[in-house]
C-alpha cells in the first residue's frame, strides 16, 4: 500500500514534473520550428521557378504556405498551453475547470506516450463546465504520473484511455489501459507518489490498477463561493456541475 511521502519529496516531484513538461515541450516546439525552417528553405528553392511561371512550382508555393501555417499553429498551441500550465502553479484552488486540467495534462503526456510507442485516447465529453476545488498543478502532475504508471505495466494493445465523468459531488478522472495491468518493480513507488499527489491536490485516489480497473481520481466540485479575484481570472459564474457559485 502507498506509504506516506514527505512534503519535501512532493516538492521535488513538482519541480521534476515542471522540468519534464518544459523539456518535452521545448523539443516539440523545436521540432515544429525545424520543419518551418526547412519549409522556408524549400520555399527559397522553389521560388525562382515559380517566378518564371512554372505551374508546378506556383502550385507548390501555395501548399507550402499551408504547411508553414500548420507548424506555426502547432507552436502557438504549445505556447498557449504552456502559459496556462505556468499559471496553474499560481495556487488558485477554487473554480478550476477540471476538463481544461485533464486536457492540458494529456497534451503534455502525449509526447511521452508517443516515444513509448503507445496511444493515448481521451474520452472527455464536451458539456457544462465542471468547476472543481483542487490544486490544478498537482492534479496535472497526478494524471501524468498515472500515465507513467500505466505505461510501465502496459500490455500488447499499448493503449491508454483517459476519461472524465461527472458525479453528484465531484468529477472522476479515470486512467486505464486496454490490457490487464502488469505490476512491476516501479509500480509501488509510483503508486505511493500518485496517492500523495492526488491528496495534496485536494482529491482522492479511489481505485488503483492493482484492483484491475485502472486509476480513478475523485475531485470534489467547488462548493464555496468564488472571490472577485477568481472572477477576474475569467472563471465563469453560474456554471459548473454541482458547483455552488455565488
Amino acid at each position: 500500500m502507498a506509504e506516506t511521502l514527505s512534503e519535501n519529496h512532493i516538492c521535488e516531484q513538482e519541480v521534476l514534473y515542471f522540468s519534464r513538461v518544459l523539456s518535452g515541450q521545448c523539443h516539440e516546439m523545436a521540432n515544429a520550428l525545424n520543419i518551418a525552417r526547412e519549409l522556408c528553405g524549400l520555399h527559397e528553392d522553389i521560388f525562382p521557378r515559380a517566378r518564371e511561371g512554372h505551374a508546378d512550382a506556383v502550385e507548390k508555393l501555395g501548399s507550402l504556405a499551408h504547411r508553414m501555417q500548420t507548424q506555426i499553429d502547432r507552436c502557438h498551441a504549445i505556447v498557449r498551453t504552456l502559459g496556462h500550465f505556468a499559471h496553474s502553479a499560481d495556487g488558485t484552488r477554487l473554480g478550476c475547470d477540471v476538463r481544461e486540467i485533464v486536457e492540458r495534462a494529456l497534451f503534455f503526456a502525449a509526447r511521452q506516450v508517443r516515444l513509448r510507442q503507445a496511444e493515448l485516447q481521451a474520452v472527455v465529453p464536451a458539456g457544462d463546465v465542471q468547476l472543481v476545488e483542487c490544486n490544478p498543478f498537482l492534479l496535472q502532475q497526478a494524471i501524468h504520473a498515472g500515465t507513467e504508471l500505466l505505461l510501465e505495466g502496459i500490455g500488447q494493445s499499448r493503449r491508454i484511455t483517459v476519461g472524465l465523468t461527472p458525479e453528484t459531488a465531484g468529477a472522476v478522472v479515470t486512467l486505464a489501459s486496454a490490457d490487464p495491468f502488469v505490476c512491476n518493480d516501479a509500480a509501488p513507488a509510483l503508486l505511493a507518489e500518485i496517492t500523495a499527489t492526488v491528496q495534496a491536490a485536494g482529491g482522492e485516489l479511489r481505485e488503483t490498477p492493482e484492483s484491475g480497473g485502472g486509476l480513478k481520481f475523485f475531485i470534489p466540485y467547488c462548493r464555496r463561493g468564488l472571490t472577485s479575484a477568481d472572477s477576474e481570472l475569467g472563471i465563469p459564474k453560474g456554471t459548473g456541475g454541482g458547483c455552488d457559485v455565488s
Binding site: 523539443h27 523545436a30 521540432n31 525545424n34 520543419i35 526547412e38 519549409l39 528553405g41 524549400l42
Partner: protein, 138 residues
C-alpha cells in the same frame, strides 16, 4: 558517377519529407524511414552512401539504431542530426562510429558537404577493407 544515395531516418515525417525533397533537388537519391527499426531494415535491403539519423525516436532510438546500422555495415557513414546534442550524446555516438554529429537546425549546404565528405570517407574505408582482405588472402 552515380548520385549519392542517402537514407534519412527521423520520426518527424514532415521534417524528413521536406529535407528529402531539398536534398533530391540538389542531386541526391534519397530514401526516408520514420523509425529506427524501419531505417535499419532499409539499410539492410539497399546500399547507401550515407545515413542521416535522428536521435530521439519512439522505439529504437538513434543510439540503438546507430549500433544496428553499423553492425551490418561497419563502414557505413552515419551522420547524427539531432535537436538534443549534448557532450554525452556526441561522445556516445562518436565512440559507436558516427562520422559526424550535427545539431538541428543545420544549413542545407553544411549537410550536403557532410554527406559528400561521408561518401568520400566511405570510399576510403571500403578501399582499406578490400586492401586488408587481399593482404590476408595472400
Amino acid at each position: 558517377m552515380s548520385a549519392d544515395r542517402v537514407l534519412l531516418i527521423d520520426d518527424e515525417m514532415e521534417f524528413v519529407e521536406v529535407l528529402a525533397e531539398r536534398l533530391r533537388a540538389r542531386g541526391l537519391e534519397v530514401e526516408v524511414a520514420f523509425s529506427g527499426m524501419d531505417g535499419v531494415k532499409k539499410s539492410q535491403a539497399t546500399k547507401f552512401d550515407a545515413v542521416v539519423l535522428d536521435f530521439a525516436m519512439p522505439g529504437m532510438d538513434g543510439i540503438h539504431a546507430l549500433k544496428a546500422l553499423l553492425a551490418g555495415t561497419p563502414e557505413l557513414p552515419v551522420i547524427l542530426l539531432t535537436g538534443q546534442a549534448t557532450i554525452k550524446t556526441a561522445m556516445d555516438a562518436t565512440r559507436l562510429g558516427a562520422v559526424e554529429i550535427l545539431e538541428k537546425p543545420t544549413d542545407i549546404t553544411t549537410l550536403m558537404e557532410k554527406i559528400r565528405e561521408a561518401r568520400t570517407r566511405h570510399g576510403v574505408r571500403a578501399a582499406e577493407r578490400v586492401r586488408r582482405q587481399m593482404q590476408e588472402t595472400r
